[in-house]
Symmetry: C2
Subunit: 447 residues, 2 copies
């Protein structure tokens, strides 16, 4: 394989390869890989997969390594293929599309298209450190998805290298194309189990208008949940985020913004309706918050002030992480079940005697319960892990999903059969076996 | 099979089954099916597929029979399963979703959700006669897709009966769900080759605001194409439609609207921006038309007046059909190639000595060249068929697709390998074989 790769692409020195052992999920089962290939081109990825399929060697695809479900955990005797060096982008303002290589960060895509007055909406909280390839592989979400949809809604085409090293082009810069099966959409969210994405054609939209922001505190989860339901049934906020008391206090500890430490819930809502409609929609949301007994409501159409509250929400995870080690959950429920989910999680936290802070993309029912524990305490670690599973069980019982945007990876795969059922698992396995009969693509992830 | 179906569901009388021989594509290869099952439930569909897989009998799924690519052409010795009697709908305004059975017409879905102040955007020109199940099976498009996307963008979940009769639930009423492969999206647009859709969970959005409408005539295709490009790169019209001279005259013959019969192109554009922004965006579009040498520009924010122009555009196909038999094309290109496509089609028409009228969802590059011929003239029929293929060849050469919204069905499958290439065909066949090893699901369609 080495002779067909550019100089420096193949790493086998354990001092170097150890850095590619884990993603942000810090999977304890990770091992140092046999080798790491820092691909510079589609041809490099093909070289690895041709070699791997010939020798039956597992291949773990890796973007920026910011995944939270262990989708890029290195496996024993396997090769990690990282796309971090594939960073080209071409923006076509006429067709409003961009052709990007997978290694570019989400924020870099946003910046490159913004130069043409365009916008790539999906915005995971990790947008400054996650790659667009990883976004496509996991069908990543974010904060604006409540109005603008998720990654798959913006993927028009892909180049994918299949298990045997064949590179295929699927879709392309056409808004409508129904010729053949929807293969593009099948590969989005497939977490590297069906192929390695080497190029993505993205649909773009005109730049987002300025946003107005409303922040409200509530003395009960139910009040906040009621306000969320009333807003989502009648308006289209461009953001509708939730933080619980633990998160509010963790953020306030660090950022000193004057957040109400006694509140049980904080909602941050935004509107990007055009012109004066943004302020008008913000006022309507403020009225809804007041009607649902918000203890404090603050509105602003100042961009910096609004951004400060969004930054506070995005900082919630690192802020809570300062309290201990985290198990980061990602369960989602149909909106009417949001209060039941948050309340149920509090019960699990009590029973298991661990701290669980809930933050959420409330407008689309996608929550991130953060289980805080002391990793040096084996008993507490055990209880945290039990809570992690019980939260997924609860989400399933409420008609929800075990993962709204992070993916199944390795950390959640034990719960996938409970969620989708055996028939869907069998269907999934048929497709996996058809496309990767040797099972060399990201083995142990999802399935 | 009969004993497991409700009374009247199974038709075998050729006088009755003959009505299920063809869809609107009028595939000349269609034969009267062995039987027709008018399913009333998912269980009925399961009954048919269990029996068919046991006996190796082909099954052709059928919605309203309005397909234009022969996706529902009955095959020799096969059973047609029609979902026309499965017509339930439940709308949930809180989660902004609807759970619908496949037999409901698109217009009936729109009306049912409108009662809750909600909107299901996808709007094929045939929306009054096509079923939502057929829309999902073909990933149907329409006129508002230029702003609002296509059917797959609104499908959150499906119930699908697989080849062996197993019913699976995929996705559901959750805006974010990345647990497992994106199977929902794989079945959307699969044209009945992987399973039969028996229930659809749709994402809805708030009712569309009132639209402002601009109509403009041009003395050259290039002027019109230039205006289209300038609009799509800077604005988000809710509709941007094109009619050529033949279509303008065919419509004017019937509707007497005072359209400019000497114009080479007519564009109908709409804006649904909120409040006064709609009229403002319409004015901007009118200015663009004028700057691109439109010979006539007319704007209105009167709903009835605007709807009249849309009705004229939707009437173009029946109006042109009055001139002779039609072969209805559906090719799409990246927008900058639109003028080259239209010009190239005119050359094909000249060479083959047939009339071809082009209408188009111009804003997304999806065109419907209408090949007019005399079905009683074998030589002309032959030339029309040659033109049909040459138009697809041209679209492929221009980086376009052989079908933007109608599907491949049986009429276009000979061109699919030219368009997607042998590697993608092989990949497609792997998935088909994995899910339908006996090949009983809609054999002869797509593959």
């Amino acid at each position: 394989m080495r002779e067909n790769l550019p100089d420096g692409a193949l790493l086998t020195d354990p001092d170097l390869t150890a850095g590619y052992k884990q993603d942000w999920a810090r999977d304890p089962d990770a091992v140092t890989p046999l080798a790491v290939v820092r691909a510079t081109s589609t041809a490099d990825v093909q070289t690895v997969l041709r070699w791997a399929s010939e020798h039956g060697v597992p291949v773990v695809p890796r973007g920026a390594g910011s995944g939270l479900s262990g989708g890029a955990t290195a496996v024993a005797g396997g090769v990690v293929v990282t796309t971090e060096r594939m960073r080209a982008i071409e923006v076509d303002p006429v067709t409003r599309t961009a052709v990007v290589q997978p290694g570019l960060l989400n924020t870099e895509v946003k910046k490159a298209v913004a130069e043409h007055g365009l916008w790539y909406p999906p915005d995971p909280s990790s947008f400054e450190i996650c790659s667009i390839g990883g976004n496509a592989a996991t069908n990543a979400g974010g904060l604006c998805c409540v109005k603008y949809g998720v990654t798959t809604d913006y993927v028009l085409g892909l180049e994918v290298v299949l298990a045997d090293g064949t590179a295929v082009r699927l879709g392309g810069p056409r808004l409508k194309d129904v010729a053949g099966l929807s293969l593009t959409k099948l590969f989005v969210g497939s977490e590297g189990t069906l192929g390695i994405i080497t190029e993505i054609t993205l649909r773009l939209i005109p730049a987002q208008p300025p946003q107005a922001t409303v922040v409200a505190s509530f003395s009960s989860i139910e009040d906040a949940a009621g306000a969320i339901l009333e807003i989502t049934r009648s308006l289209r906020p461009s953001m509708l985020e939730f933080m619980d008391r633990v998160a509010i206090n963790a953020v306030e500890d660090e950022m000193k913004m004057g957040l109400d430490r006694d509140a049980e819930a904080l909602l941050v809502a935004r509107s990007d309706a055009p012109g004066a409609f943004a302020a008008q929609e913000a006022t309507t949301m403020a009225d809804v918050f007041t009607a649902h007994d918000a203890t404090e409501v603050f509105s602003t159409d100042d961009a910096d002030e609004g951004e400060a509250f969004c930054a506070a929400r995005r900082f919630a995870i690192p802020a809570v992480e300062l309290k201990g080690s985290l198990l980061l959950e990602d369960v989602g429920v149909p909106l009417p079940q949001l209060a039941a989910l948050v309340t149920g999680i509090a019960e699990i936290a009590k029973t298991r005697d661990v701290m669980v802070s809930v933050i959420a993309h409330a407008g689309d029912g996608n929550t991130h319960p953060l289980i805080v524990y002391n990793a040096d305490d084996p008993d507490m670690t055990e209880r945290a892990n039990l809570a992690f599973g019980e939260i997924m069980d609860l989400a399933i019982a409420l008609g929800g999903t075990i993962t709204g945007e992070h993916g199944v990876g390795r950390l959640k795969k034990a719960w996938l059969p409970d969620y989708v059922g055996e028939d869907v698992m069998a269907l999934t396995r048929k497709i996996k076996d058809a496309l990767d009969p040797q099972g060399i693509l990201n083995p142990g992830a999802v399935l």
